[in-house]
Symmetry: C2
Subunit: 333 residues, 2 copies
DNA sequence: TTCAGCTGTGCAACCGGTTGCAAAGCCTCC
DNA sequence: GGAGGCTTTGCAACCGGTTGCACAGCTGAA
């Protein structure tokens, strides 16, 4: 039903090529012709069909935005920022939900069928094999919130979780905590592993500090709560915990409250991500910031540029974290 | 670079049409031929280009998923459920973020350029004019979480906010609250207006109950908190508040806590939506459920069916709310 | 006046598929 | 052996654009 190139061409009394050229940047069209064409197009409400042109240009301006994280509240802002950053550059996010998906094959197929110009994998829990599978299928890929490695196969943008773990250790040390705990996310997530590594390494510089370790089943409120309840029941608690993430911390916070324990008086807590909720006054969580907006800006910039720039060398782009002081750790001595 | 129809046809020694038929449901291909084609396709890793076929079939299987709500945590599960429901039917969500957008024109253009098969408007705060503009541009549209009206121009799926308001009034009445407050979302959102209407109407059946009204600037934590702080400062508080939504309630909860007021002992609170966070034990909010999964299932079902079924009559589909008893209202007398 | 050098335009082929139509092939039944 | 019916296949046109190439028309220099 909508007007096509042909309709406009007929109405303006020119060839289809002329109309096409009038709508493509930097093509040669006489001013008078362009005007006639624009008038005709206007009258017919003509818009070039992006999909048809993608056939010859090879560009759809669609970007696959794939994630498996639709439960951690921080991802709402992640989607917000991603979609806006993409839209600002005239790119369209084709959203792919990989919850419970273990095999990249289906999504590779689908993304190829829709000829996306590039793929953003936004997840800290999806195995690298997904990003690599998209890459192997020939699409430009960036992995946001992925694991920092020196020579990655695809662009990876995120924080250095090892450094963040170290930072948590230092923060607890400076506040004089001795028996500390690591309450990690799922043990098979690289983010969990790296945060643990850094945390343990940081603590090892302080001979008088001891570490106990446990893992929640997921980066989710209930998981954090359950794990903290288990810890309360099992053995004497540590003096302070570095939780795998804010939502886990909030779960832990709720468990401690139930048990009549005060934070930070009885137990200290430090999270990671600095999601909006951590700043809510009734939560007021001390945490380590994750510079989400910068990560997203960089990710979109990279995916956009690697669309045009073939033979782009993948690299890891790492952003600095900082400690956000709030009310769940006792003050520095 | 990826293999095309022609490549497969040559390798299998058949015409392009034969290959095309082998990949379309219910086309007539001899078993032997089909097998040869499938072998060739397999060898070349061939997948039909969805965009190319959309040119002739007129179907892209892409659905515009448009929203402006990327701050209310409930929308994370909304996106989760929408993407999964769409994927389950082989549909692809093209995500459109309309935050701060006042004019539907741009998005209409964009969605037409990408020939989406249909549009889901998922928002309770976007003016109806958006859904209607998409509809006017000839695309099947459903408006999820939209205003319930008897004869809508497009399918609208959601709750009856007036009934929900009435339900809140009855709930407070049964618990013996007399001076009650309405702490609504943005005054220009239809959801706010309808919840107010129903609430006021419900109260009017109880001669001994009085109502004060105020509005938060947005459906957001800070907005709810700010408004409740203002109420605390301004005048004697009501005995209980019906808040426009859960996230607003949680903001109000935090304000009350700051002021040293106990919930439900000093002030009662009832929210709406029953988002996951409302069930968190450290929040434990009494609220009115919004049957989000059913709404989404129905929305996707409707958009999928109105793609094929032209001259589909739009209607309002309304789901029942129920009160979820938790800890922020005093028990029934 | 002639010719080189531009610019602007149309023709036609192409992108990767689908589909109406007609012809070919096969089988059955008389 | 031939007519009739069904299935299978290829041809060619088409979907809505883009683009290489050739040519027309104009300008300016020799």
């Amino acid at each position: 039903m909508p007007a096509t190139l042909k309709d406009v061409a007929e109405r303006a009394g020119v060839s289809r090529s002329a109309v096409s050229r009038a709508f493509t940047e930097g093509a040669s069209v006489a001013p008078a012709t362009r005007q006639r064409i624009e008038k005709a197009a206007e009258a017919l409400g003509y818009r070039p069909n992006a999909l048809a042109s993608s056939l010859t240009t090879g560009r759809t301006k669609m970007i696959g935005l794939v994630s498996n994280n639709f439960h951690n509240p921080i991802f709402l802002s992640v989607f917000d920022l991603f979609t806006r950053a993409l839209q600002d550059r005239g790119l369209r996010p084709l959203l792919v939900n990989l919850t419970d998906e273990t095999d990249p094959e289906n999504s590779v197929r689908m993304l190829r069928q829709y000829s996306v110009d590039g793929v953003i994998v936004a997840s800290s829990t999806l195995p690298v094999s997904f990003a690599e599978a998209f890459h192997a299928a020939g699409m430009p890929v960036v992995h946001s919130f992925g694991r920092h490695v020196t020579f990655p196969k695809v662009d990876v943008i995120g924080i250095d979780n090892i450094a963040a773990g170290r930072m948590a250790a230092e923060t607890l040390a400076r506040r004089g905590y001795k028996n500390v705990g690591f309450l990690g996310g799922p043990a098979d997530a690289t983010s969990t592993q790296d945060r643990y590594t850094g945390f343990a390494e940081g603590l090892s510089r302080h001979v008088d500090m001891s570490l106990t370790t446990s893992y929640a089943a997921a980066y989710a409120f209930e998981a954090g709560r359950d794990e903290m309840l288990r810890l309360c029941a099992a053995a004497p608690l540590a003096d302070a915990y570095f939780c795998g993430d804010d939502v886990l911390s909030i779960g832990a916070l709720s468990a401690l409250k139930d048990k009549g324990l005060k934070v930070p008086e009885d137990v200290g807590l430090i999270g990671l991500n600095n999601m909006a909720m951590a700043g809510w006054q009734n939560i007021n969580l001390t945490t380590i910031s994750n510079p989400v907006p910068q990560i997203i800006e960089k990710s979109v910039e990279l995916v956009a540029s690697s669309v045009t720039d073939r033979d782009h060398r993948p690299a890891a782009h790492t952003f600095r974290c900082t400690v956000i002081e709030r009310g769940t750790l006792r003050p520095e001595a």
